[in-house]
Symmetry: C2
Subunit: 277 residues, 2 copies
Amino acid sequence: MCLPGTVETVRKEIRKEGQPRFDRRTAILGGMGAAMAVAFPAKAHAVRPAKKRVQDLTHVFTAGFPVFAFDPPARATLVTIPSAGFYAQKWTLGEHSGTHMDAPGHFVLGGRLSPEITPEELIVPIVVIDISARAASDPDTVVTPDDLLRFERRHGRIPDGALVAMNSGWAGKIDDLLEFKGGPAFPGYHFPGFGLDAAMWLAENRDVTGIGVDTLSLDPGNSLTFPVHVNFLGTDRYGLENLANLDKIPPRGATAYVGLIPWEEGSGGPCRVIANW
Amino acid sequence: MCLPGTVETVRKEIRKEGQPRFDRRTAILGGMGAAMAVAFPAKAHAVRPAKKRVQDLTHVFTAGFPVFAFDPPARATLVTIPSAGFYAQKWTLGEHSGTHMDAPGHFVLGGRLSPEITPEELIVPIVVIDISARAASDPDTVVTPDDLLRFERRHGRIPDGALVAMNSGWAGKIDDLLEFKGGPAFPGYHFPGFGLDAAMWLAENRDVTGIGVDTLSLDPGNSLTFPVHVNFLGTDRYGLENLANLDKIPPRGATAYVGLIPWEEGSGGPCRVIANW
């Protein structure tokens, strides 16, 4: 419910008493009558993450973000600082929007849902399988068992608990809907994904937590039967879709923090993924 | 847009070819005609987070989660496995729902918005200021500078880059709307928060990244002027609201991962917060 009078009370009281106390912040609410942005000093304090390097692997969650099906996310302004003293938006979104997780229950009856993914599964080693050179000339290519074996020959065994992410070079296409999907509508999409044999090799021969892709779907765009969704999620592991910046982290050695919102009864849903190494 | 025919195509093709390949998963899609959940084996593989202990600090993001103002989150089922071969929900939510961040721009014209909070600010040391004993008898109590000095005498100086979180014992009241808010409507709420002097002492004397509370608001519920929102966010730092389980982590020594979805033009928004130590 919207509490009657809330916004009016906040606006009135902030205007009456809530001005900043300190000179260095007097500009902040000074322009309340106009929807202008004031120049704002950058935060000066230092931040020290657990390890030295940090890389966001998440796309900005935009209204209109490309989705496989259903409506893209939409946003609306609820209140603004000039009108109410504070600013907030409202969102409408399908769970498979933006950089997001597919939980086992997305394709598996009785499979785990978003709140059942444990925090331990959300802090994991991440490795990157780079198929971008091949994908540049073939949008229907997939990660194969050979790609995984080649990775291991070069970088060592995929670590226990790993999130195995495909870098196909697709993240850079995010602003061109047709390029990102490789077609105007499903069926007819063309983008890379995991081959079923590779996904199941990981589930059966390596102790992985999940797989991830920089495209719209764990399965390649031209799949009609979604065998990776059905079978890999069927091993009670998760998948991540629409990852970004996988070319900016080492193939091996980073830890991924997968900040899945614990959406009630969620089939997965938007998450913030950050790599640290 | 909803792509015409998508769901129908997926359903048809999955039914035709997408059955799981392996015996141990044959139960998964077997009950397709009924909305029943099958018994599902727990994931057997081990997960090894960066450090040994992991604690979720996030409430499940529920439809109807208590909000300060506007409508609580709502969810609807888009498709189900029995009907379409896959399951997904749709959400409508205000940015200040669930465990969430207040970005500087929530109260500060020109202040930073969700995508501008850097990944480095999202992996930070967390310390917990426990005022739960006092709050049990006084819902209007606040974190004071004395609480901060007492913390430092006992646990050492608040580390650079810290997220300073108030544990008032309020997280356990989440399922009782009236208890959690301490009143049916604003104005008239009663729950603990940060006192202005304590919040500004942190901003000016310690190198903090942000503050956090286990209640609905950085300011106490009975505040009419929101001075902590105005002034602390005015120092270009963030606040977290509706944190959970702060009694289950050490007062000092854990790292917090703040998985803020980078909501476009966001005034903050839902985030997944996990502590690791």
